[in-house]
């Protein structure tokens, strides 16, 4: 009996030793928001994540090029699906472009605000400045596509947050405050290892562009002057080098999206622009976006005025008569393949020819894109110094300093061995409006295929149905509606504080 009593005690003791489990559990499998943001290095990783959005397929990796060229008079296509609806302004609210564009830009905004909200503990203004620049760039792209009445987000969102529609002026004010702050915080330049980060000049140029879109040229002028006077930027000797995978620091790039040389690896996204913008659907390229004849016509005007072909023409478009080949075939050969024989041109700029020249499938005789599908390593220049010079000329002209403005246009023309502006177009500086009209032509010659035509049309007040004179697609542009794209229907469905815009 005694033994049994001992046994009972032994059991009791054993059972009382069984420990209680712990209710407060911490995820051992991954770092969480509450355990991250402890070091300066992590803060910088936060801003890198915001830059990462620039590479998305829905951003500079692909869609932004489609959107801005398609919605301007530069780009067109004969595609049966959404691409065609885009260029004809007949996209629905649940379209393939609006939602991702909205989502990606707000992702960049969110990632940047995560940095801004954690930065004060480390006091790293250069990191905060980059985040502010990226927020401004995202809003700039949102306003470009959707207009000013987008969701007003000025902090990291909780899952329950339902931001309201911004009133006119609110987003521009936010962009302005972000960029003014960024200009104070950002350095003039970065070491070579950090090449690609936003600089003071980039913030100044983007703020100038923001002012331009609001016709506030006087406020833009000193910013542009500061960029020019900074000594950080210069025109490349060779225009074409801007659009090639050179693997060097480009002093003409004021801000660029950095794609990896001979990319991609697991660590990066590639730029698919060259596949989308290929002349037609061949060998793995999509041929989704072609050129309208507007660019071709502009170069012909230049040739008519000067008697010589603009060397930028072949670098910008492929057309019958180009001296360059496009994936090994002549412009005429491509024109023969064109789905619409009224449109014989395609974009040449940024087409990564250097990797694939003469890469023709021996059996079919057709060019093959197969070897470049995985590349797309050419950095995409968002703001180019030549653009800054032309903008400065526009600002000077707006202030009445047309004569001074001519010199900046000539800088750009001279690099491409064009005759001086007033030699080619003697009346170009006769009046403010004559110069502005000539400047539009100069911007087409220099900047076509670089996504700025869309903003230029809006700034000139030409973003309307009448533009069908240049691009037949504008024939289906509904004035008072298609100036902006509709707010994505799914956003309206999930956020009662958001109101539809004129295009919904």
């Amino acid at each position: 009996m005694k033994n049994k009593i001992k046994l009972v005690y032994a059991f009791a003791l054993t059972f009382s030793l069984v420990a209680c489990s712990e209710l407060d559990q911490v995820d051992p499998n991954q770092v969480s928001e509450s355990t991250f943001w402890q070091t300066e290095s992590q803060l910088d990783q936060g801003v890198i994540a915001a830059y990462d959005v620039l590479q998305f397929d829905t951003m500079y990796g692909q869609n932004l090029h489609i959107i801005y060229s398609g919605l301007s008079d530069e780009g067109t296509n004969e595609h049966p699906f959404e691409f065609n609806a885009l260029v004809r302004f007949t996209l629905s609210d649940t379209d393939a472009f609006g939602g991702p564009h909205w989502g990606s830009n707000y992702t960049m905004i969110s990632r940047a605000y995560q940095v801004l909200e954690n930065e004060p503990r480390f006091n790293k203004p250069a990191i905060a400045g980059q985040a502010e620049f990226l927020i401004a760039l995202a809003y700039f792209n949102l306003v470009g596509y959707f207009g000013e009445n987008v969701a007003y987000v000025d902090r990291v969102q909780n899952p329950g947050d339902r931001p309201s529609t911004a009133e006119d002026g609110q987003i521009y004010a936010l962009i302005e405050s972000m960029l003014l702050s960024a200009i104070d915080k950002l350095p003039l330049g970065w070491s070579e290892n950090d090449y690609g980060r936003a600089t003071k000049g980039a913030a100044q140029a983007l703020l100038a562009k923001t002012y331009f879109q609001q016709q506030r040229f006087a406020e833009a002028e000193p910013l542009l002057k500061a960029v020019i006077d900074s000594g950080q930027y210069s025109l490349l000797a060779n225009y074409a080098d801007n659009f090639m995978e050179t693997g060097t620091v480009n002093p003409e790039a004021v801000f660029l999206v950095n794609f990896i040389e001979d990319g991609p690896t697991n660590e990066t996204d590639s730029n698919r622009r060259h596949q989308i913008f290929s002349v037609s659907e061949q060998g793995g390229a999509f041929g989704d976006i072609q050129c309208s004849n507007m660019i071709f016509n502009a170069f012909n005007r230049e040739e008519d005025a000067t008697g010589s072909k603009d060397s930028r023409m072949d670098q910008t478009i492929i057309y019958p008569g180009s001296e360059l080949t496009y994936y090994g075939l002549s412009g005429q050969a491509w024109a023969d393949e064109a789905p619409d024989q009224n449109l014989l041109t395609g974009f040449y700029k940024y087409s990564e020819q250097e990797h694939t020249a003469n890469n023709v499938d021996p059996s079919s005789g057709l060019p093959t894109f197969m070897t470049i599908l995985a590349d797309g390593g050419t950095d995409y220049i968002v703001i180019r110094y030549a653009d800054v010079l032309l903008m400065y000329a526009e600002a000077l002209n707006a202030a009445g300093n047309t004569a001074q403005a001519v010199t900046y246009v000539d800088q750009v023309r001279a690099r491409s061995e064009r005759p001086a502006l007033l030699d080619a177009y003697p009346g170009a500086a006769d009046s403010q409006s004559a110069f502005r009209d000539q400047l539009e032509q100069e911007r087409i010659l220099e900047l076509s295929g670089e996504n700025w035509r869309f903003f230029d049309l809006k700034r000139y007040g030409k973003y309307n149905n009448a533009q069908q004179a240049e691009d037949a697609n504008f024939g289906t542009f509904t004035d008072g509606q298609d100036e902006v794209a509709g707010i994505p229907q799914s956003e309206l469905d999930t956020n009662a504080n958001l109101r539809p815009n004129q295009a919904n």
Binding site: N29, Q30, A49, Q55, P159, G196, T494
Partner: protein
Amino acid sequence: MKYIIRFKSALLFLGLIVGLQSSAIAQNTITGTITDADGQPLAGATVVEQSTTNGVVADFDGNYSIVVGDSNAVLTFSFVGFVTQDIPVGARTTINVSLQADQNVLDEVVVIGYGKQKKSSLTGAVSIIDVGETEKSQYTNITDRLQGRAAGVTVVANGEPGSIGDIRIRGSAFFDDNNPLYVVDGVILSGAPTINPNDVENIQILKDASSAAIYGSRAGNGVIVITTKKGQKGKLRVSANVTTGFQQIAEKLDMTNAEGWARIVRAAFDSPNASGLQPAHAFNLPGIDTDWQSEVFRTATLQDFNANVSGGGDRFTVLFGVNHTYQDGTVPGPKFDRSGIRLNSSFEVIKDRLTVGQNVAFNRVRLSGGAEEDNAAAAGLAVPTAIDALPVIPVFDPTKISGYGHGDTNNLSFMVNPIGFAALYKNTTETHNILGNVYADFTIFDGLNYHFSLGIERGTSYNKLFNPRNQIRRTTLVGSALSVADSEDQTTYIEHRLTYEKTFGKHTFSLMGAFNDLEETSFGTSIAFDNSLNAFEAGLFEVSAATPQGTGIPTVGSSRSTVATHSLLSRFTYDFDDRYLLKASVRRDSYSVFLGENRDDVFPSLDIGWNVHNEAFFNVDAISQLKLRAAYGEVGNNDAGDNPYIGTTGISQGAGGPNYNLGPTGTAAAGATRDAALGNPDLTWARVSEYNFGVDLEMFNGKLAFEGNYYFGEVENLLADVPVPASAGIGFGSTIRLNAVTNERKGWETALTFRKLEGDFTYSISANAFATETSVKSVPAGFTGIVGSSITSVGSPRARLFVWDYQGLYTSEDIAALPAGFMVGEFEPIVGDAKYRDVNGDNIIDQNDRVAVGNTLPTVNFGLNFTAAYKNWDFTAFFSGLFGRDVLNGPIQGLHADIASNYPANYNPYINGVGTHPRPQTAGDHGNYAASTLYVEDGSFVKLRNLQIGYTVPWKDVDNLRLFISGQNLFTWTDFTSIEPEFEGGFFTAGEAELGYPVVRSIALGLNVSL
């Protein structure tokens, strides 16, 4: 034994004293044997002299000896589960008693979770499973064996070896996790039990929220309470069961041959809007005509063996068992092999005061030949592949790299050769499971009992998948790969429980209070190599530092998660005179997955019952029981998805993460940001609150029993993936889990049993019928309820079909009468195209023309079991099925639509002016084979689940020797035109038929022996 002797000595001593005091009082010693009807001794049966405290207990051989006052004494013989007999002593000194098994199961004791209750006192909806009948099934797990056995419980089992079917108690109330909680010997499990189903002694299913409420936050889908077999005091028993048989897929779907397929494909391309590549073989038949179903479907063996030895002494019981089950696949793919042992024992350490014991089962499960889960040829998909594979593709094709035929780009074939897949992909999973507990029961004083239990459920799994470099699908050249994954899941369960039971006068009450601690931990490690080198190709599957590790980057990983639940619970029952019944319970759960004030919650229940038959005024002889009961309870569902850390937002970083490039050549720079899957710290339990009203009726001394339940209630705080505005910065189309939806559920259940157990010919009929309807009551913004071809809209039963309204074929008159610009999708219809109703009248047939049709929830499910015995023969027929379910026949729709799959033999498309189905089409979509009412079919079916004939061999040397032949899923009666009408479907897509591993037919021979 010693105590009995002492007791008897004491009696004798007392008797002597009494005898000395008054020799006038006669003294009789009565001896005898107490047995059951079969003559088996009933050890532990009691003998009491009426109106005295004089009593004894029968020994192991059923023998007793009692000294009674005189010949007027009356002895009462009783034993649990048997009818008590009163026998006057008279002049006899030897009284042998044969007790009859009690057919009236009113006094049956039912395990209800954290205790037991007399069946007559139950106030909720509890199904008591006839385990003997489930043992006639050939299913290899206990879950599947519940199919059709209880009102309100459905099981969709399939024939894939080792798979466990989908079980639903009162339908699907939740969007994701609708699996019930399992409790085995008091231990709360993390999933379905893997134990040998023949180890099960009894099963109770707690169906309504009130009965389940004692399990609180895990009981939202009901609770299955399983008790395993224990040893019995008395003689040693040995029993064994052997079954061997074979299985096959019951139905083939008749398909066209190569000629028939080619004729339809050619017609599809002979139309104005035909587009896409033409399958070359359709225009130039290769002279191959493979009947893929005959090649893939095969007869598979099935073997089951289990044996146990049990017995017990005065102070202990023990049961030891072994089992082995083997099931081959009816298609190339998984094979299931399970071996297990069990040891259940108990020891009465201190007589009438302390019992300790353990129940433990160990088993090893080997599953081999399965596929990688995300692979197109995963086991279940061998069946659809066999059906849709083109007859022009040969099984073996020496011109292919792998030697297996798989078609090519020119023939648009996307098939994965299932025979080649099974041959090339070596996939084995070996799992070791331990499930059991140790416990102690301590009687502190009469009526107050302390129970302690420490339970463990542990599974360690080792998976290895290897494939050589191969090509068994079109142009997809697959590099060799090896992956090894180890996982361990352990649940530790601790229970402390105090129960006080007391009867005084007509009042009986019990009060139970308990504390539970449940800790669930998972660990995993994995390693994978791609493009492994020759060592792996040669069959050397283990990895060491010396192993050439291939050209790919090896990926390694480890993970761990811990989830803890603390619970306090209490139950009070009160019974006045066995007439008025009351039960109240409350459970408070604290759950580590939920944060802050959402961590703790309380789940109550309250029931009342009225045993009308015990009222003085109730005087209907035929009715032995009439009980009315009403219950209300609240239970939760703690499912928050696979990630137990869902309350916190992770950081996304690392390879493939939010990284950027800096520097002129673009050097990778690491980034980090909040994960797109936002955590939600406000998550809490979904909660069911339900009323249950029931009636229990027993007539003719238990021959006829009826049980009925009606229930209704709400499911609140249902977890749903709710769209988050993209302005939150986690991308377009992201969702977050929120407690956002409220559902309503109502239904009814009836069960009827009739038994005739006297005479040479005995039989019983058990039938159940039931239906459940769930609908959505309120939803958050952005929640459409449209999933696939189904719609769940507020106020309607869930998962109605949402399809175009098919109105026949377009005739030339129809086409002429169409308004200009009328389009179906992107094309103008032509003669022979499918005609759909333009619901919104906009002359375009598109998404906006879909109509909600059909009732995808059965109007009635049923089970019907008939057993009969005549002398040594016994017979069982078991049916189950459902009626009134409308089903979208997606498998057939898919076969009609696709030129790159074979066509059903009865497909009769409109070709050259002849045909009843819409014109065949290419990928260019005229919408002819869209989801429409054309494919809505009556999904009702009845299956003969089991047919068994047994013969008990009359042999004196054994207690029982029975031979049987058994057939499972022998016949299906249905109008449904695909091969398997039985499928579970999701919450939102309950009526969309799928084509997976179908139910298989099996025929087996078996032997039961006990001695």
